[in-house]
Amino acid sequence: MVHHKGHGRGWGRLIGLLPAVSLLTVLFLGALGFSVAQSLGYAPQYGVMSFPTNIYYVSLFKDPGFWQSLGLTFYYAITPTLIGLMISIGLSLLLAHKFPGKGAALFIYKIPMVVPYLVGVALVLILFANGGIFARILFALDIIDRPSDFPRLLQTAEGWGIMLVYLWKQVPFMTVVLYAHLLVLSREPEESALLLGANRVQILWHVTLPRLIPAIVSSSLIVFAFNFGAFEVPYILGAGYPNTLTVEAWRLFDDPDYTNRPKAMAIVTLVSVISGLCLLVYLSLYRAYERKRGRV
């Protein structure tokens, strides 16, 4: 890192950062601060004034439904991250080779990235609902007796619909990151491994993947954090109960009894804390790995 000397430069940089930093401070830290305060019983606007209290957290921890929701939240976050990562690694390696139609492929795979999640939700509903296009096609082909006999994929706790939307949207994202990383890496280590007699699997496992690790870590980290805190996809495509923590928080927040809102804020705070902890653990494991390899 090159450090620029001179106060003028430093102050200039600070002032340059000010708009972004102040926006983040007010919107992000401000909202977080209010959630934490409310979750501890500071909500005079709803007639709750028991600050500081831990009853909202304690009642959550005592509720088996909370733990079930926490488990589901992890499940919906981790499964598509891992599956998506495997697909993306394969896809990016494929794209790194020359093949006919590569130009078109490079364009097409990125399309879901610019389409909002809600459009993905709508697509999944149109295609996979028990009255959706696939159900109707199977019905027309006499494979099922009526459209509603189509296997139920949406609005169940298994979360097929949720994970499908995540994959559809996130595989292109992870592929972009991995593919860009592959492009800037030189091919020399792979070529020398080949010359030294390594086969393709060995090259992938011992040369390419370890060199891709930084990109794998950063992209999967972003995807996991998003999935963990996502709301609208599980809200629309998930089961009524049980569902993710964010949906539980919304249910409490939307209750006509506003004194439930501090409990909703306790959930929201826990979501932030837990996903923050996960990132911390993940990153420190990554650091340990890099140290072991002597790269740090």
Partner: protein, 447 residues
Amino acid sequence: MKLKNLLASAAIMAVSVYATASSAADEAAAKFREDFLSGQLSWSDVEARAKTEGEVNWFHWGGSEKLNAWIERNVVPALAAKGITLKTTRIAGTRDAVDLVLADKQSGKGVGEGSVDAIWLNGDNFYTLVQQDALFGSFADKVPNAENFFFDPADPASQLNLSDFGTPTEAREMPWSGEQYTCYIDTNRLSKSEAPRDFEGLEAWVKENPGRFTYVKPPHYIGNTFVQTALYAFGGGYEPFQKSITEFTPEEFAKLVEPGFNYLRRIEPYLLGGEKAIYPQNQAANQALYNNGEVDMACEFGLYFVSNQIESGAFSETTETLAFPESGMIKNKNFLAIPSNAPNPAAAIVFANVMAEVDLQISKLKEIGYPLGVDMAKLSEDDQARAVAAAPKHHGVTDAELAALAVADTNASLVKVIETIWGDYIERKVEMPFLQIVKGAMEKAAK
């Protein structure tokens, strides 16, 4: 979307906490409120002040183009004749207006200073405003058109006006429209003769046709009402459910509702989705299931719902309303409420009075199929005949059948307990004796 609401509410909350609560109340408006509520003002005083205020801000659900057009054609000119400009805010969810009122209130805005003059609402949203002490006061029985309503607590006919999903209205909101909980079937898929007529019939039918029925998930009010209807059927009718929860011991209440909840548990494996029953989140999702042919029967509020849906093409021509269940169909009204921080309180009162006018009520029934909010028996014979002639036609039932089966809504203090019990006993299947679940729900409600 909901997320946007969430963010908006969070932002409003943030602002409201910052705002200083130094209430420099509009003194003239405060005096008007006091004088009007204590009956010291003549109606012409109110109308004169309304004219100087000059506008009224009405927040209403704007999801129906027919309704919006009807308002433009009929309500706007009626108010213009009184020297008042109607400013409507069309909202997707009534909760948005309630949140705005509460945010204004939190930032210290009193009568004459807020941003909402009137809200079309009922049930939960009214309950929230009552809980937060954010209503203008008992105005509905003090306007000239109050004569179109029963407001005497001693008269059982007043029940629909004095109780909003069981919350006592105390005339803090003006009845505007009425509804009845009805179920509908597609006679192409389920013939009228095979359709269930009561809950025993429903059980027999779903056992033969598993997966062909479900109901909206409580605590959504559409789902709550289905549960209440079932509890009525197995708990001796609607009368026991008019009492407040404080009049019950947990043992008594458990005894009253257990047969109904056992019924709901019994039919669950035969609902849509089978072992993992699927309860749609709201009436739109339920209608989609019905239109997709996933269920053959569905229930929601709407006396003329089926005729309106058929007319707009949203339902098949073969859809019919069902007189289900014979044990009683819950009926209630929806209202116009004035918040405690209405910026134009006199104009809001004049507005509520205009909306209760017989001509406007009949036009609403005739043109958009919204049932009368005024009470038939209070109208002149002429008006009654006009109202009967104006009503849209029913499909599969008669007015007399529907009227004969109509029963009162549940006391609101019970609704909270019932929805908690449903959550524990049906949805989460908490492994506790039923009495224990009821005790927990009652304790939670008493907090």
